[in-house]
């Protein structure tokens, strides 16, 4: 397995009226052909991580450091034409609210076609043809007539399918999905998840799927990364994490029987509030809510520990007395 995406020691800070340390040292890898679930409660930095990967954060108000490599390209060094070629072609993205992410005054077909023309330089007719194919790929019924439809004329589920068609129209290697089913009804949500699963195999893509819904994460992920306070607190194969969560936060999330976790269950089940992000954490950000907190947790940040092959945890308890700590 080779890594398509390698994020290391990523820090993102928003400056302006108030400073927000949104991402505080994220290390994340995405392997070829896998779906990585990025799970965390609201405000934990999931969207910011995806936006950093596509360099969508507002330039003037954002300070980024660390490194992001995608297919051996240094993403943070991309600029101008190279950057916009990278977006949509190498990596593309689908959003939580397709109703807002599509331009209301252009038809679905023309929005897909313009993407194809942009990246493949083909004629309008060829691009329209591709748009039609893509609507069929995402199984929008009577695709031909839907090409001319405007976003407001479609249902929520159909809009998200159209958004997926758009995102996949240039056969990207990597798809970023930012809570794409959160705004949908439960039944539609399952259909979209199944569709994404199928398309991931069909297109041979790798997917980073962001969600705050444990049930959805379990459904879609091969590997799971749990985010808290702008850090990845636990990362590993989905099955291993579910069988034996090692970080106290993950344990709290999953409870004793994760397989029975109902869909739609929010993560706000652990008492306490998410951490304030106005400074770089100088202790464990989870300390205030941790059931097994120790004195040292409040004195310095815990190390990242590889507890098994490919399983990382950011906690003193996992480090034990003299386990090898990576930082």
């Amino acid at each position: 397995m080779s890594a398509l995406v390698e994020i290391s020691d990523l820090h993102v800070r928003f400056v302006g009226e108030r400073t927000v340390h949104a991402i505080n040292g994220v290390d994340l890898t995405l392997n070829a052909g896998e779906t990585l679930g990025l799970l965390g409660e609201s405000g934990s930095g999931k969207s910011v991580t995806l936006r950093a990967l596509l360099r969508l954060l507002p330039k003037r108000r954002t300070v980024i450091s660390g490194s992001i490599r995608v297919l051996d390209q240094d993403v943070l060094a991309l600029d101008g034409e190279a950057l916009s070629r990278f977006r949509g072609r190498t990596v593309s993205m689908i959003f939580q609210e397709p109703a807002l992410a599509l331009d209301p005054v252009y038809s679905i077909g023309s929005q897909i076609a313009e993407t194809v023309m942009r990246h493949e330089g083909c004629s309008r007719a060829a691009a329209d043809q591709r748009a039609l194919e893509m609507l069929n790929v995402v199984r929008i019924p009577s695709a031909k007539s839907r090409l001319a439809a405007y976003p407001h004329e479609l249902s929520g589920g159909m809009r998200q399918r159209a958004m997926i068609a758009l995102a996949l129209s240039c056969k990207p290697k990597i798809l970023l999905a930012d809570e794409p089913t959160t705004a949908l009804d439960a039944t539609v949500q399952i259909q979209i998840l199944l569709l994404l699963r199928e398309l991931q195999r069909e297109f041979g893509m790798s997917v980073i799927f962001v969600t705050h819904d444990i049930g959805v994460a379990v459904e879609i992920s091969d590997r799971l990364a749990v985010m808290y306070g702008g850090q990845i607190v636990e990362q590993g194969a989905l099955r291993d994490i579910i069988r034996a969560p090692s970080h106290p936060y993950t344990r709290g999330l999953l409870g004793s029987n994760a397989h029975a976790a109902p869909k739609g269950q929010r993560l706000e089940t652990i008492p306490g509030a998410p951490p304030v992000l106005d400074a770089v954490p100088r202790a464990c950000p989870f300390a205030a809510r941790c059931a097994v907190v120790e004195q040292r947790c409040n004195l310095q940040p815990p190390p990242v520990v590889e507890i098994a092959d490919g399983r990382l945890t950011r906690c003193f308890l996992a480090a034990g007395q003299d386990a090898s700590a990576m930082n």
Binding site: G88, A101, L102, D103, E114
Partner: protein, 317 residues
């Protein structure tokens, strides 16, 4: 879309009719005898009665309205009480002058307003934005008759580049699109353009900022669109609202500004309306208001249709 246009047309007809009725009635409900203006102070009762019959003021109101409307539909707006000339010709002449002035001012004001508004919206919070916003505020707050006089002092009196007053040699009756005539248009057009320029700058700035903060703009960048391609989306999204603002401003300008037309002696509908009011010239007043109102309704209709062409969501409303 065609059905939408028909529907809007159907809405417009009763509006035009009500406007006609309203301006007919308003004139008849004002106190005082409309004949006072044309009668000599020592006119006899018989003469007054004669004129009253001649102008039809002795008939019942509904009949007067019916007859008036019938004539209006045939392009006959009656004769001016003050001058005796046909109202239709007077109004056509004045409205043509004002339309010309309004379109020239729109060309200047709308172009500048759109450009400044888009730039300010795109570069929100920077010095470019502050500069454009200051220009806009100055535009709406400077009294324009004062600005008109300042421009006259600079460009006519001091520099002697442009004429101060009038609508060209031989009056505006012989207007032609050559420099000899257009130079008369420049100062009044610039003066007229300042307020719409400011209003459009402010509106378009707010609109652009609003659109740029919407999710779909980020999604456009996320799919690899170039800056210029995103700009096209922004403009198309801003267009319906911007058109509505511009339509309204053009409507105001078509009414003619009494102040500006007075400062520049521009023989437009503002001046005509003014003299019709002061001379209690009822047929002239009715005719002018009616024509201007129809212009306004037609303009609104065109804006509605243009908006619906651009934004499919409007067609359903």
């Amino acid at each position: 879309m065609f059905a939408y246009i028909l529907r809007r047309l159907a809405y417009a007809i009763p509006i035009v009719l009500s406007v006609a009725l309203l301006c007919f009635l308003l004139v008849h409900m004002t106190p005082g005898d409309p004949l006072v203006a044309v009668l000599p102070a020592d006119a006899s009762q018989e003469l007054a009665q004669q004129l009253r019959v001649a102008y039809g003021f002795d008939r019942p109101l509904p009949v007067q309205f019916g007859l008036w409307l019938w004539r209006v539909l045939h392009g006959d707006l009656g004769a001016s009480i003050a001058t005796g000339r046909p109202v239709a010709a007077e109004v056509a002449h004045a409205v043509a002058n004002t339309v010309m002035l309004a379109f020239a001012a729109a060309l200047i004001g709308f172009t500048l307003g759109l450009a400044l508004g888009l730039i300010a919206g795109y570069f929100r919070g920077t010095w470019v934005d502050k500069l454009a916003t200051s220009v806009a505020i100055a535009g709406v707050s400077v009294p324009h008759y004062w600005l008109g006089m300042v421009l006259v002092i600079i460009f006519s009196v001091e520099l002697n580049w442009l004429p101060a007053v009038g609508a060209g040699a031989g009056g505006s009756g012989q207007w032609a699109w050559d420099w000899a005539h257009v130079r008369y248009l420049i100062l009044p057009a610039v003066t007229t353009s300042v307020i719409p320029m400011g209003i459009i700058t402010r509106n378009v700035r707010a609109l652009t900022g609003d659109i740029l903060s919407q999710d779909f703009v980020e999604a456009l960048y996320a799919k690899g669109m170039r800056q210029s391609q995103v700009f096209r989306h922004v403009v198309k999204n801003a267009a319906p609202t911007a058109l509505a603002v511009m339509g309204l401003q053009l409507g105001y300008m078509l009414g003619g500004s009494i102040l500006i037309e007075t400062v520049f002696s521009w023989p437009g509908s503002g001046l005509l309306l003014n003299s019709a009011i002061f001379q209690r010239d009822l047929p002239l007043l009715q005719g002018t208001i009616l024509v201007l109102a129809i212009f306004f309704v037609a303009l609104n209709l065109m804006v509605d249709v243009a908006q619906a062409l651009i934004d499919p969501r409007i067609r359903r409303a």
